[in-house]
Amino acid sequence: MADMVLGATKAHDREAARASRRHLLARIVIYSLLALFSIVYVVPLLVVFFNAFRSNAEISAMGLISLPQSFNLGAWPQAWSDFCIGGQCDGVARYFWNSVGMVVPATIISTALGAINGYVLSKWRFPGSEIVFGCMLLGVFMPGQIALLPWAYLLGQVGLANSVYGLILVHCIQGLSFTTLFFRNYYVGIPDDLIKAARIDGAGFWRIFFRIMVPLSPPIIIVTVIWQFTGIWNEYLFGVVLNSGSNQPITAALVALSMSGTSVRTYDVMSAAVLIAALPPLLVYFFGGKYFVRGLTQGAIK
């Protein structure tokens, strides 16, 4: 019996060694692939980041993708307040603030409206509410090109053409479909019995909303705010069409900047400008990462 045990243990050891070797090999392959792909993803970001701190002479000499040899902060103030874009030479500051002034109100308003709409569509179903929801859903898929001419005309009529306020209106209305979708899907998961109990307790429409629904909403509010903020900040088409010149958001400024076909490319200033344009949503992403993903899977799979 003893030597049978011994034999079994030896075989077991060999088996165990082989299994762990296979496992190790698999791990090496997996991590190397991931590392390789992440290099492909991180390099562009690093390129922009480092080049904002290098002198332009060095960039021209050594190329964009090379280890930084100098450290230079000169590009930043230039990008912010000196650089010439489309005829005006006061940097991207103005466009940055245009974007801020557009994104913040639009996000807040569209999120609030989306919450109320989602609440109505999920908890106060009326005949035809499903159809209404379906129609609002269409707004998510509409290509922006269809709305360009009508918006241009409409904004002109109400005197909001070529202004940040006009863009706020546009993004509110267009964001409504998205935010309503998010909130409605989230609220459907809140038990109807809560609402029934509240109604028996005598609570009305608004009281239920503010005292029951809203306190349960922080996760979806965060997701929606992140999604809207990112989407509106990064939006280009409407910004460049409906507004012009100094009323455009920063995305349009960026295109104008990189399009300014001067023969001398000032990569350092342009990198700084790119970073200024990209930093707000990137920061939101890095700090709110998991909510970002949640919004993705919730919205897209539906």
Partner: protein, 294 residues
């Protein structure tokens, strides 16, 4: 008072319904009407029938735009899906620092395609980008100048598009892989299926609906491609990387031909409808079938 209470929800949502209705139907209808009119620089409402569409399809540039769209969509959708699936499977192997990897692959989504396009434009520049770097490392014969090449500039857009969206498809696939009942995988282990066989015959078939959903979403993105084309190549060199969306912008706001621009916009809408309507019907049919089985 009771009557008011009953109508309150409808009243509250009414403005949004009206706004959405206008935004979806009225706007589309208006644009459609413009496409049938003789508008050039400003809207005019003389009915012209389908003249604008005829001149649209006769326009060589539209042909380039449309074929670019097909070419781009085919590669963009399949490769972004394949790459995203690969990343998702890698991350699903119970690795460490998962949120780190996810953050790395997903960050392009947080950033506008304008930014992505601009940065990649610099990278594609042979004088200072990738080609320059490889050359300076010693491989002086290396050529990588897609954006200056009329024939191949579309590849630059395809590659960058895949780069930007693979993370998105990865996130969706990962969610799908995670939703598979773990017991089924254990059963496959006991049944003796190899890792590969488990994925091929058990896990991936179970998440088949997600493949379709991802494909539809990516196709939708492809049809709407605008920011990327503008920032990366500005439809150039020449007109070789024109896309339907850039065509619309060009004709509506640069050339003062809003009639034809509107026609092009309607074509984009039609393309989206061709993708989305069958998919929605399929979803409804599938939901009904599932409900029937209980």
């Amino acid at each position: 008072m009771e009557r008011l209470k009953k109508w309150l929800p409808i009243l509250v949502i009414a403005p949004s319904i009206v706004a959405s209705f206008i935004y979806v139907f009225v706007f589309a209808g208006w644009t459609f009407y413009i496409s049938l009119s003789d508008s050039t620089l400003l809207p005019s409402y003389n009915f012209r029938g389908f003249d604008n569409y005829a001149s649209l399809w006769a326009n060589r540039r539209w042909g380039v735009a449309y074929s670019n769209l097909f070419y781009f969509s085919a590669f963009y959708v399949t490769c972004a899906m394949a790459f995203g699936l690969l990343l998702a499977i890698l991350i699903d192997q119970k690795i460490r620092a998962e949120s780190f990897w996810r953050t790395v692959f997903l960050y392009p989504l947080a950033v506008s395609f304008i930014v992505t396009g601009t940065v990649w434009q610099w990278l594609y520049n042979p004088a200072s980008g990738i080609q320059f770097m490889v050359n300076s490392l010693g491989w002086t014969d290396f050529k990588f100048a897609l954006t200056t090449d009329r024939q191949n500039a579309i590849w630059a857009i395809i590659i960058t598009g895949i780069w930007g969206s693979a993370g998105f498809s990865m996130a969706l696939f990962l969610a799908g892989l995670r939703s598979v009942d773990q017991d089924i995988i254990k059963a496959a282990q006991i049944d003796g299926a190899s890792w590969f066989r488990t994925y091929r015959k058990v896990i991936l078939p179970t998440i088949a609906p997600i493949f379709l959903a991802v494909a539809v979403v990516l196709l939708q993105f492809a049809i709407k491609t605008f920011d990327l084309a503008v920032a990366l190549t500005n439809s150039g060199p020449g007109i070789s990387t024109t896309f339907p969306a850039t065509y619309v912008y060009d004709f509506m706001f640069q050339r003062g031909e809003i009639g034809q621009g509107a026609a092009a916009a309607m074509m984009i809408l039609a393309a989206l409808a061709v993708v989305l309507i069958p998919y929605s019907l399929y979803l409804v049919w599938r939901r009904r079938r599932e409900a029937g089985h209980g």
